[in-house]
């Protein structure tokens, strides 16, 4: 019997508003290590406090709904979701139930074969408030309310995905879009973006839905993939042994690589939802929606396709480049300023440029290098004024100081040496000084060619034009 996994994802994204959902406290809770400093009577649930809706949160949620091809509901109602937990100060969470911001959307993801597309339907997008942070400490728990009340967008997909690759593709896409819209930083480690997977399996070909489990607290794509693989296997094994799957909430234990049950005796999720009486309904006029539609930037998919058309990149290359808006923008700007071939620019950006950013842990929105400077650097390289070794050195310097590429070349004297006579002289010197190695090369050890290249490079302090050296060296090393 072959089984098919049936997976839906729930995504919680903290919105990048200045203030919290219902009060004027600073929402950037990850910017401080001092607990209980971004608080007020409202987000700590003190008696007499009242919530007032943050307009920006509604606006940002509409942007997300539109980007996900959803219908933006004309009337939005907030509701109280009632349950007790120490990180929920009011004893209820203000959320949305019946009439959320957006519903019935979709997202296209690439299938496993990397060729065909699949549509994942999005059931709803709704707004709610985040809970406080609870830290367990022996026989006690400590609570920090800085995060309580931060606006949270919940994106719920239909269980349309059937492979781990699909959910990763979907999750990446959503993350990308949220970053493009500048409503979320995408930081999973800090919990700014959180994923939950709803997983069930069914016999291949069946259209029915079996019992599903929910895995929470997946804070990286890696753990999401591993946990999902594990859970699919676990469920298949249960069915194959004649057992059943229990509906429950699970956690993922990274260390032992297993899911584990999180809830004890369940109160059957009796949240007793009812309309929030302190918040009048929100009427989202169509005119408002139109204004927002025009504010949506070119999203990753559209940008990828345009890059293919405009720059002759392959779809895969374009997709890679557009996964981060800032990188895509940097690429385009560079292309417009540089005379170097697009392919070279592409390779440098996804290669050394990205490497520098990752090594230095730079925020994509704070890239210290200007496209102008980068374009200059690449042009120096492609016009052979400097070689690739020097170019890489200069790139590091630019990242350190953002000094002008030309200036660095002058300062460090990195002009490429292409003069044939001069290089021939160096090569002859190296050959003369290493007769043994020459003999070894000539009798078959071809890999030593690289060694000679390296020696010449050393002699010229890395400035030799590798193509010229290669040509001359080949000639001179040939057996006479």
């Amino acid at each position: 019997m072959r089984y098919e996994p049936v997976i839906g994802l729930e995504i919680h994204a903290e919105l990048k508003t200045q203030t919290k959902m219902f009060c004027g406290c600073n929402a950037d809770h990850s910017s401080t290590t001092e607990p209980n400093t971004f608080i007020c009577p409202i987000c700590t649930g003190l008696p007499g406090a009242m919530p007032v809706l943050n307009k920006k949160a509604i606006e940002q949620s509409i942007l997300v709904g539109l980007a996900l091809n959803c219908y933006i509901n004309e009337i939005n109602i907030f509701a109280r979701k009632n349950y007790f937990y120490p990180d929920l100060p009011k004893g209820y969470q203000i959320s949305q139930y019946d009439l959320p911001v957006a519903s019935n959307g979709w997202l296209t993801i690439l299938e496993e074969n990397l060729v065909t597309n699949q549509r994942v339907r999005i059931r709803r997008v709704h707004l709610e408030e985040d809970t406080a942070k609870l830290t367990h400490q022996g026989n006690f728990a400590l609570i920090d309310f800085n995060r309580a009340g931060v606006p949270l967008l919940e994106i719920v997909s239909e269980p349309d995905m059937h492979t781990v690759e699909a959910i990763l593709s979907y999750a990446n896409k959503i993350r990308s879009i949220l970053r493009y819209l500048e409503v979320n930083s995408g930081d999973m480690e800090k919990g700014i973006l959180r994923f939950e997977a709803n997983i069930s399996v069914r016999p291949l070909g069946s259209q029915e839905l079996n019992t599903r489990t929910e895995i929470k607290n997946l804070n990286s794509f890696r753990s999401m993939a591993q946990a999902t693989y594990y859970e699919i296997d676990r469920q298949i094994n249960l069915y194959e042994n004649g057992d059943t799957v229990t509906q429950e909430t699970l956690g993922w234990n990274e260390l032992i690589g297993k899911t584990y049950s999180q809830r004890g005796k369940e109160e059957a999720h009796d949240y007793r939802y009812f309309t929030e009486p302190d918040i009048p309904p929100v009427h989202i006029e169509r005119g408002w929606v139109k204004t927002f539609s025009s504010q949506i930037p070119e999203l990753p998919d559209a940008k990828s396709h345009r890059f293919v058309d405009q720059y002759g990149l392959s779809l895969e290359e374009a997709r890679y480049l557009t996964s981060e808006k800032e990188i895509a923008d940097f690429f385009e700007k560079t292309v417009s300023l540089s005379t170097s071939p697009v392919k070279i620019i592409y390779n440098w950006i996804i290669g050394d440029f990205t490497r520098q950013i990752n090594e230095r842990k730079i925020d994509y929105q704070m890239i210290p290098v200007t496209p102008e400077n980068f374009a200059q650097l690449l042009d120096l390289f492609t016009s052979k004024v400097i070689n690739d070794f020097s170019a890489k050195e200069i790139l590091v310097e630019i990242f350190n100081s953002n000094k002008n590429a030309h200036d660095i070349v002058s300062e460090k004297g990195l002009l490429q040496i292409s003069d044939e006579d001069f290089l021939a002289g160096i090569i002859e010197k190296v050959i003369e000084e290493n007769p043994e190695t020459v003999k070894q090369y000539q009798t078959g050890k071809e890999t030593l060619f690289q060694w000679f290249m390296g020696q010449v490079s050393k002699e010229t302090k890395g400035k030799s034009d590798p193509q010229v050296v290669r040509r001359i060296l080949t000639k001179k090393l040939r057996v006479q």
Binding site: P41, T44, G45, L46, P47, G48, A49, M50, P51, V52, L53, R80, N82, F84, P86, P89, K90, G91, Y92, A141, I143, A268, D270, R272, Y273, F274, P277, D278, I279, P280
Partner: protein, 487 residues
């Protein structure tokens, strides 16, 4: 005339004319409190030093002749459901014993800005749940007209206080008669404003959809004066109305001739005490003499108002009281507990009174899975019908007249046994809150020596009209001038 018996209007006159100082006035009231309150027990907290300090500041302001408002230097107190910065606030409950808010309710801030002098916090039924002040976790307040009787509730402390010179006015709160009923029982004026007219920020919520903060005063003029200061849009309260605040005192004295007074037939069918009915009929007579047109009107969903009111009350209260869990403020159980769930359960168990527990349990029940449609949703739909009842009635009349309560003040302990009976006595006051309309309770006579109250109910945002009609009545009668005699 004792200083503590002055009306706000008269006291203001005397303060402005430098006949008295705020310190004198405040001291007189404080002395009366010391003398009388041990018998009445209207106060939960008295802030004597602070009050005198505020009075001193008010006197400086009065002497400078600058920035004087009608309430500058006037001593008042608030029901203990309103947060007051630095002053113990209990909401009549043990679960808030020890809680000292670090912010004040918006209305308290407004009154503070106007220069009024805060004397302290009034006793109330725990979390506003009750009609007699017998459900306070601390002690009963007594009716100054008969110490063996209840003052009404839940703003019982406030009503008793104003009726017997323990404050020149008070701020209470009306969810389903909680200002009007005690005003009626204690022979004073009480206003439930239009929902949203007065900010609820800082008021400890009971039923978010119904709660209305409002004034309790000796007469209609004072009531209009106080409302003037506390009404208006508050950006901190998302349900407060953006409509501008008119000058409430300008309509006072205008003739009521030709205005239509609606008498709802459903309110006069049965259940009213003979003495109450007599007083109400006499009041109707007075209005007839003043030239008002008396019309019969109908509020067909009157019977449904009680269940609608209570179902929504139970539901919203159960959610509003979920934050009282012993972890961040207020009472926390000192019993040995294994987990936080136990702490929460113990704290609520020990901190909440029986009526509170009963109501929040019923609230959780009506909202729980499977029952939501039949109870809560149904109640909200019938609520629309009640709202429509009032809307269409006001096409046929300008103001509705009704009794405040079917009886006069009952004896302490008389009604406490049976919750259902207690609920039923609210019949005349519970329809207004689901509808959001304003209602003014005024003294209209006595029955066996006990005050009878009547209500004037108006359409949305018609407080001016209510004051006009109420003032006209008080110009013709003397009921509101009577004071209880305390031995």
């Amino acid at each position: 005339m004792e200083l503590y018996n002055l009306s706000v209007r008269k006291a203001h006159e005397m303060l402005v004319n430098k006949e008295i100082s705020s310190v004198e006035l405040t001291s007189a009231v404080l002395a009366n409190i010391r003398r009388v309150d041990p018998k009445i027990r209207a106060y939960l907290t008295i802030t004597e030093e602070q009050a005198l300090e505020q009075a001193r500041l008010a006197d400086i302001r009065l002497n400078s002749n600058e920035n004087i408002t009608p309430l500058t230097g006037i001593p008042y107190a608030v029901k203990d459901c309103l947060s007051t910065r630095g002053i113990r606030t209990t909401c009549g409950s043990k679960i808030l014993d020890g809680y000292i808010p670090q912010f004040s309710a918006s209305v308290v801030d407004s009154l503070d800005k106007s220069g009024a002098v805060l004397l302290g916090k009034h006793n109330m039924d725990e979390f506003g749940m009750g009609s007699s002040c017998e459900n306070s976790a601390f002690f009963n307040t007594r009716n100054p007209w008969d110490l063996d009787r209840v003052p009404g509730g839940s703003s019982g402390g406030s009503a008793a206080s104003v009726s017997t010179g323990l404050s020149l006015f008070a701020i209470g709160e009306d969810t389903g008669g909680s200002i009007r009923m005690p005003a009626g029982f204690c022979n004073i004026v009480g206003l439930k404003p239009t929902y949203g007219r007065v900010s609820r920020f800082g008021h400890i919520a009971l039923v978010s959809s119904f709660d209305c903060v409002g004034p309790l005063t000796q007469d209609v003029f004072d009531c209009a004066t106080v409302l003037q200061t506390i009404a208006g849009k508050d950006p901190k309260d998302g349900t407060s109305l953006p409509d501008s605040v008119p000058s409430y005192t300008s309509s006072l004295g205008k003739a009521v001739k030709g205005l239509r007074l609606g008498i709802p037939e459903e309110y006069f069918q049965e259940g009213m005490d003979a003495g109450v009915e007599k007083a109400i009929q006499e009041a109707i007579h007075v209005y007839e003499k003043l030239g008002m047109q008396i019309c019969n009107v109908s509020l067909p969903h009157t019977q449904a108002a009680l269940p609608v009111y209570y179902l929504i009350l139970f539901a919203e209260a159960s959610a509003n009281l979920a934050r009282f869990d012993g972890t961040r403020f207020g009472y926390s159980s000192s019993q040995n507990v294994e987990s936080v769930i136990d702490l929460i359960i113990q704290s609520r168990q020990e901190g909440f009174g029986e009526e509170v527990k009963r109501r929040i349990m019923l609230g959780a029940y009506v909202l729980s899975a499977g029952y939501y449609d039949a109870y809560y949703l149904k109640a909200q739909k019938v609520r629309s019908l009640i709202r429509d009842d009032f809307k269409s009635t006001f096409e046929n009349c300008d103001v509705i007249l009704a009794p405040t309560c079917p009886s006069t003040a009952f004896k302490i302990g008389e009604k406490k046994q049976d919750p259902l009976t207690m609920y039923l006595s609210d019949i005349y006051v519970v329809a207004t809150n689901p509808a959001g309309v304003p209602a003014l309770s005024l003294p209209c006579g006595f029955s066996d020596g006990l005050p009878v109250g009547m209500q004037l109910i108006g359409n949305h945002l018609t407080e001016e009209l209510l004051f006009q009609v109420g003032y006209a009545y008080q110009a013709e009668t003397k009921w509101h001038k009577m004071r209880p005699t305390l031995n």
